[in-house]
């Protein structure tokens, strides 16, 4: 049977057999549709990338107000566009860990305080200028400067000095940081000629494509960079169209106007996947939807009340009804298995009796006010209603207040004591914890002030022994799980769609959605 299938898939690849025929005959041989489809794509994959053609991408997130300056990138369209023309020093590898890009070699001093990046030689920017370590230094200076607008400023803070020695770029830190290379994967930190100090929005870099047309928030066209040093970039042209409306984006892929789309709404993902020419990919990631309580504000300053809320949430129900199964349950920490050095801990589950016990013990009376809005995460008001119902079984009265989308991030999130929110996650545990759970973090949105936790975070950061680090992170996770203000019911998967016109999808790619936004550069047109 397998011989026959193999023959059939070869026929398909050679275009002697239509997809419909293949599926039909594969079914006759007892293969399910999904199995046949997988077999097909692996056959196409085995044949290797095809050069040429145009890949068209439909993306949400872009806005007319965007700029091409990578320092100010905030959304998925901006991230993908800047990855077309620019490159970081190092990047997340598809299967986890890091891969070198413009840095050829990364090494640390034994105390993890001095990091050296050896810059690849013989590479040129798209304007013909050769890449040097000085360009790298200038780029980092621009993002770290006092008057910078860069979204990467926060992660540049621990750096005390930067310098160039020949083809080496050297970073010195105030405290040891074993994760520094991960920080360099940040999507803002793309190397530009002279750091982009002359023209930050020129879109000149070393990337696999050269941006030819850019209409902000509307449409972008990029053509293959003939001098690109790496192996990415199979299509001659990549066209990115911004389609913010979910229904319009799904219609665009269904009618074949685009070859891939980001952010398929979970509600309609199954319907979209039913179309014979569309593949819907679900990729687990570090993103999570949360209910956040301020640990220093009454009534949430009482840990028993927080425990009551944690026991009073039905995580499985949320994954099923809010994520439509495209996700996994959370465990009241921001970390899941997509992070390096993750340790599994005992899963907390819905228990109305324990919730009631802790609620009574807290001595709180009356309702608890939760603020939510549509844009805090997709389905947040529905999730709040589910939370209300599951809490009512424990005798706890949750009052829901709908807030307008407009201004939610400035007026409610990180300002009101209890609200819904989301986190897209970070590449490492250190970064996630330093961003939102360290006492001094700007976005400590649960007002979690715990000295022991802070000390452990700093200790882990300077620890180069992986086993010891893993243990520290496990202890920190436990602390947050038991005392934090974070109620994390679910981790959402990235859901993307591609048509059969393109091939080369990599399952479970680390990073963001659409293969960490590299999909148009790593996939190819099959016809």
């Amino acid at each position: 049977m397998s011989k026959e299938l193999e023959y059939l898939s070869k026929q398909f690849v050679a275009r002697k057999l239509s997809r419909r025929h293949f599926m039909g005959r594969a079914a006759a041989l007892g293969l399910t549709a999904a199995g046949a489809s997988t077999m097909l794509s692996s056959a196409v994959y085995a044949q290797g990338p095809v050069k040429g053609g145009t890949i068209r991408v439909g993306l949400p997130g872009g806005s007319t107000t965007d700029s091409l300056d990578p320092a100010t990138t905030t959304n998925s369209t901006g991230t993908m566009i800047s990855r077309l023309w620019g490159e970081p020093l190092v990047e997340l590898a598809p299967e986890g860990g890091l891969e070198n890009r413009l840095a050829e070699e990364v090494s640390a001093s034994p105390d993890a305080k001095v990091w050296t990046f050896k810059i690849r030689s013989g590479i040129s920017f798209s304007n013909g200028q050769p890449l040097t370590a000085d360009d790298v230094l200038a780029t980092m200076e621009r993002h770290a400067g006092e008057d910078t607008k860069s979204g990467a400023l926060g992660i540049m803070r621990g750096i005390t000095a930067m310098r160039v020695e020949g083809d080496k770029f050297i970073v010195e830190l105030d405290t040891p940081n074993a994760d520094l290379p991960y920080l360099m994967t940040d999507y803002h930190l793309l190397i530009q000629p002279n750091g982009g100090k002359d023209d930050p929005a020129a879109a000149i870099g070393t990337g696999p494509y050269i941006l030819k047309e850019a209409d902000m928030g509307v449409r972008f066209v990029a053509e293959k960079n003939p001098n690109y040093w790496g192996d990415m970039g199979h299509a001659d042209t990549i066209e990115v169209v911004v389609i913010n409306d979910d229904t319009a984006r799904m219609a665009a892929i269904q009618s074949g106007q685009v070859d891939m789309v980001g952010r398929v709404p979970p509600r309609t993902a199954q319907l979209v996947a039913r179309a014979p020419n569309i593949n819907v990919h679900s990729t687990p990631g570090p993103g999570h939807y949360v209910f956040i309580a301020h640990c220093n504000t009454a009534p949430f300053d009482n840990n028993d009340l927080r425990m009551a809320l944690k026991y009073g949430i039905n995580r499985e129900e949320m994954v099923e009804k809010i994520l439509f199964g495209y996700g996994s349950i959370g465990n009241d920490t921001p970390i899941n298995s997509s992070y390096p050095l993750f340790t599994e801990m005992e899963q907390r589950s819905y228990d109305p009796e324990k919730a009631k016990f802790h609620f009574d013990k807290s001595g709180h009376e009356g309702p608890i006010l939760l603020r939510t809005s549509d844009n805090s995460f997709p389905g947040a008001p529905d999730a709040s209603a589910l939370f209300q119902q599951s809490l009512s079984k424990a005798g706890i009265n949750l009052e829901i207040k709908r807030e307008p989308n407009d201004g939610y991030w400035s007026e409610v999130w990180n300002a009101q004591p209890f609200c819904t929110s989301y986190w897209s996650g970070r590449p490492t545990q250190d970064q996630m914890y330093s961003t939102a759970y360290l006492s001094t973090a700007d976005w400590n949105d649960t007002r979690f002030f715990n000295e022991q936790f802070d000390q452990m975070l700093l200790a882990a950061r300077g620890e180069l022994d992986e086993a010891k680090r893993t243990q520290i992170y496990a202890d920190m996770g436990m602390l947050l799980h038991n005392e934090g203000g974070l109620i994390c019911p679910m981790f959402n998967d990235f859901i993307d769609g591609t048509t059969n016109r393109v091939a080369g999808w990599v399952e479970n790619h680390k990073g963001f959605d659409l293969m960490n936004f590299y999909a148009p550069m790593k996939m190819w047109v099959v016809g």
């Binding site: 439909g58 806005s63 007319t64 107000t65 965007d66 700029s67 100010t72 905030t74 959304n75 006092e146 008057d147 910078t148 607008k149 860069s150 979204g151 400023l153 926060g154 047309e213 209409d215 902000m216 928030g217 509307v218 449409r219 169209v241 911004v242 389609i243 913010n244 409306d245 229904t247 319009a248 219609a251 665009a252 269904q254 009618s255 074949g256 106007q257 685009v258 307008p404 407009d406 201004g407 991030w409 400035s410 007026e411 999130w413 700007d442 976005w443």
Partner: protein, 318 residues
């Protein structure tokens, strides 16, 4: 016609005064929105330092009133200013968007206006009979359904199922006129359905009103056919209310297409405005608001003037 000139000058002066009031209203409105532009630019990834840097650079620390008058002064020199968010010149980026919106509105009007008037005449000709009822039923049904829903329905059946027209109405300079027209087929269809009923019903009502007059009876007695009576005698006399409603709908085609533009991803003024409102980019919002107001006031002025010209009694007041 000195009287007409005086009237014209009066109307334009009033229009400008109205625009000034509108600009103040928009400025006040955008200032009471929660959040500020710096916070919106950086989104969730804002750090206090970055926020302070951006605020300083954009001049957000100055009082609102002085920012308003600065802007008004620039406007008097034809300078719309630069966008706070992207630093681009507003006039040039707005220009291409306005061109696209007018392009869509123009083709929607080319289809909708003659069709509405023709259907109105047809409805009068077959008054109270099945063609009249059918026309009314269909047009009223299409105006009652929200336009985004009509958009999605057409998108699904015509775009996805039948594949006759593209669902993403992206147009850009590299396209030929034919490609552009095919690209905007669906939004034009939606806009036509939305504005049709209003114009058709008004045409029908205005003509029916005139049909009661004695001179129509005379024309009938002369032995003219029904359609000739309507076209030659009734229609010219009912032109004022028809022009009025046509102008209102044309204005709607320009300023009211935000939803349709978003649904079909059309790069027009609507999307441009929505993006900037959500980022609190006040100069752009004001520029858009003013242009929309100018279009509205301008088209209404045209309607006034046409109805005066079309009516001898208004042309020569006692």
């Amino acid at each position: 016609m000195p009287l007409l000139m005086k009237l014209l000058v009066q109307r334009i002066a009033l229009g400008l005064l109205l625009l000034l009031l509108v600009s103040a209203l928009i400025f006040w409105g955008t200032n009471i929105l929660p959040g500020d532009v710096a916070q919106s630019i950086l989104g969730q990834s804002a750090t206090p330092e970055a926020l302070a840097n951006i605020r300083e650079e954009l001049g957000l620390n100055e009082p609102a009133l002085s920012r308003y008058f600065d802007w008004l002064g620039g406007l008097a020199h034809g300078d719309l200013g630069t966008a706070l968010t992207s630093g681009q010149d507003i006039a040039s980026s707005l220009g291409s968007r306005l061109k696209n919106t007018l392009f869509l509105a123009f083709w929607a009007a080319v289809v909708a206006v003659p069709l509405a008037i023709f259907l109105g005449l047809l409805a009068v000709r077959y008054r109270e009979r099945w063609p009249d009822k059918l026309i009314s039923a269909i047009t009223l049904a299409s105006i009652s359904v929200p336009e985004f829903l009509i958009g999605y329905i057409l998108m699904y059946f015509i775009g996805v199922k039948l594949g006759w027209a593209p669902t993403v109405s992206m147009i850009h300079d590299g396209m030929t006129l034919g490609q552009k027209l095919s690209s905007i087929a669906l939004p034009v269809a939606v806009l036509t359905m939305v504005v049709l009923a209003h114009m058709m019903r008004m045409t029908r009502a205005a003509i029916l009103n005139v049909m009661q007059s004695a001179y129509i009876e005379t024309a009938e007695l002369k032995g003219l056919t029904m359609f000739t009576i309507i076209w030659r005698h009734a229609f010219p006399n009912s032109i004022a209310p028809i022009v009025n409603v046509v102008m209102l709908n044309l204005a709607y085609l320009v300023v009211g297409v935000v939803v349709v533009e978003v649904v079909f991803t059309y790069p027009g003024m609507g999307q441009y405005l929505v993006d900037h409102v959500s980022k609190r980019d006040v100069p752009v919002v004001q520029a858009c608001g003013l242009i929309f107001a100018a279009v509205y006031i301008g088209l209404n002025m045209v309607a006034d003037i046409v109805s005066i010209l079309a009516n001898p009694r208004l042309r020569h007041p006692k």
